[in-house]
Amino acid sequence: MTTQTFREWALDETPSSRRQASWGRRYRIWLNLRSNPLAMIGLTIILLTVIVSLAAPLITVYDPGAQNLYNKLAFPSSEHLLGTDELGRDVFARILYGGRVTLGLVVAVVILVAPVGLLIGCISGYLGGLADTVLMRVTDVFLAFPRLVLALALVAALTPGIESAFIAISLTAWPPYARLARAETLTIRNSDYIAACRLTGASKFRIILRHVAPLCVPSLIVRATLDMSSIIITAASLGFLGMGAQPPSPEWGAMISTARRFFYEQWWVAAVPGLMIFVSSLAFNLLGDGLRDVLDPKQT
Amino acid sequence: MLVDINNLHISFRSRTGVFEAVRGISMNIGAEKFGIVGESGSGKSVTARAIMKLLPNNAVIEADRLAFDGIDILAADEKTMRGIRGKRAGFILQDPKYSLNPVKTIGVQIAEAWYTHKGGTRREAMQAAITLLDQVKIRDPKAVAALYPHEVSGGMGQRAMIAMMMAPDPELLIADEPTSALDATVQAEILRLMEDLVSSRGMGLILISHDLPLVSHFCDRVAIMYAGKVMEEIRAAELNRARHPYTRGLLECIPSLLQPKEQLAVLNRDPAWMNP
């Protein structure tokens, strides 16, 4: 064990413990993902954005809310790397701190929504019958709403703000996950290995939680990663429409919204957050495609 | 010679390394019924696919000679191969469910196969399709032509598949486990049908199967493959006099209805078979 590297340990063809077996599987997935350059570009961008946002106070000396009305709408310079906005706030600092808001929102939504969708979908698909009908009609109702319009209505009914945006996006984001998990469950439930699980005498919920749901997780991860870009855009759209993060909170969508008034003269103020939305959405899509290739449950 | 294989090697490249599926086999096949028998992983299906150049991109084919009716398959471009596949050589797979197009009727699919190779009008093609279905002994060919693949039984689907492959009058038929998804009663009928067609048209047939007794009853010559090599090639009728211990071992571990045994013989694999 002393001279053995992690690689040798994880790739051992005859693992000697549960831990080694599961790490071996994870490590092989990682090796597959690593061989896909586009997915690695996506992952690098995402990690970089997250690290830079978290380390914002170390990277920039400016406060994202600090105004300097004497130096507003300044062109990028060595002093202000990406210029300043209409209140003389440093755009670079606002982009960095804005990443916390936008990415934080995205991660929070996915962490809440994916498990809920997974559970509803698996229960619906496995039990079938009345439970399936009821759960799927509820899902249909939520699916029938255009995401942005429902989110707008909700935010308008509550108070505009990042918390309301979170609730609104979450409410409209879960149905596709439930649909996906249900579709997967329908193909899994009639397999011989689930029949074998039933022959152990396990309860329905044990089978759903321990045997069916784990098989749906890979495709849900892929879906979630691909979905992140659309959540970023919805969050940015809400911000742009004034229904998401409220000023002075530095949210990317809200930044574009205020900057559009002087878009022709001082284009960089709007272009930089726009570029960030574009790049981070693209990065999530690249990573999602790569994950789909390595996690596809159809390949053994 | 219809098919001429000399020292064929096929390997698959993957991230973890190179896997050698076929390791230097040679066979010559004329207008006869030639069987290739082996267990799973013996390389029998891969060999058949190599003749049609139907292998995935990560496959590497090397051979001193690999030819179909004098055409060098290794050097042939995709256009030449299209002229061979489906036209001069037909390919029948195990399960007709996956090899027939599910959204077109059986009649339309056979008519298309006929039309692309022979030309003519749509009506003539449909008429030819019905004639072909009649030739593969489908009782009501007109009605079956109007059905979709999922509406017919496995045996009927396999007949339709054979009719489709017969459309361009091929010189060679390659059948990869054509009856192993079918019931014993249907299997016998399909094999009889293939035998009739092959002998009446003077075609060559390569039958790939795991079923040694079946192949020995049906074919003229049999090659027994193991781990990517040909263990022996014998006249099918002389199978019971096979000398190679692998062939003998395979025959002995098959349970028999007429000669029951208390304990079945188990095949002991000799590493020396890997390098004959």
Binding site: E13, T14, P15, S16, S17, R18, Q20, A21, S22, R25, S191, D192, Y193, A195, A196, C197, R198, L199, T200, G201, A202, R206, P214, L215, P297, T300 | E39, S40, G154, D183, A184, T185, Q187, A188, H210, L212, P213, L214, S216, H217, A236, A237, E238, L239, N240, G249, L250, C253, I254, P255, S256, L257, L258, P260, K261, Q263, L264, A265, V266, L267
Partner: protein, 248 residues
């Protein structure tokens, strides 16, 4: 041990099993042969408790089995499926697959039970933490048999347990099944389309045709050709034809 009387199973409009009756004494093996769609596997799934909609009577040791079986039932009756590639959970290690039943039933000493089950089916301990896709077809079918054995059952239902395997592996699995039956006094019901396999393992068998069991006879009678129903004769003829040496 097992009594099946007037078993009827319908799927929607279609009646897949039309009143089938048979009895299997303890320690014996009963074979069910027939072509695809004859209803042979449907009977087995109903006996196993996987199909919860049927009419008639299924009884074990004289006790009628309810439509929905209680968990304790599965300690007594286990099943092995046809396709060893499809009957093992693709994301679970062999260890996890085998320990599921003991965990559900709160059995003690799971570690030792898993080790013993593996050695009972002659698998090396090194396969324990591997995934199904890392094993060969024969090894997987051994795992499936080990999963059935770990319940310490009295009855094992076998649904074409060797038809997806090569003949050399089939011989090993059949020998294992014969050996296990002798050592543990197991009762088998074997479903297969292969008369030679059925007659090798089962002294008695029933022939299915279109949902009906048209004939029950002993393997010896089948071998000798003492047959009443034409379908049995047809199936026998097809098997015998291939077993005869080729005429030169």
């Amino acid at each position: 041990m097992i009594d099946v009387e007037h078993l009827r199973i319908r799927f929607g409009e279609r009646e897949a099993v039309k009143g089938v009756s048979f009895t299997v004494p303890t320690g014996d093996s009963f074979g069910i042969v027939g072509e695809s769609g004859s209803g042979k596997s449907t009977i087995l799934r109903a006996v196993a408790g996987l199909n919860e909609r049927w009419d008639g009577r299924i009884a074990f040791n004289g006790v009628n089995a309810p439509l929905k079986r209680p968990p304790a039932f599965f300690r007594k009756v286990q099943m092995v499926f046809q396709d060893p590639y499809g009957s093992l959970h693709p994301r679970q290690t062999i260890d996890r697959i085998l320990s599921e039943l003991p965990m559900v039933h709160g059995m003690p000493d799971i570690e030792q039970r898993v080790e013993k089950a593996l050695s009972d089916v002659a698998l090396p301990p090194t396969v324990r933490f591997r995934f199904p896709h890392q094993l060969s077809g024969g090894q997987r079918q051994r795992v499936a048999i080990a999963r059935a054995l770990i319940a310490e059952p009295e009855v094992i239902l076998l649904d074409e347990p060797t038809s997806a395997l090569d003949v050399s592996v089939q011989a090993e699995i059949l020998n294992l099944l014969v050996d296990l039956r002798r050592r543990r006094g197991l009762t088998y019901i074997l479903v297969s389309h292969n008369l030679a396999v059925v007659s090798h393992l089962c002294p008695r068998l029933g022939v299915m045709l279109d949902g009906e069991m048209v004939e029950q006879l002993s393997s010896d009678d089948l071998r000798a050709g003492r047959i009443k129903h034409p379908h049995t004769a047809e199936l026998r003829a097809l098997t015998v034809e291939l077993e005869d040496p080729v005429e030169v």
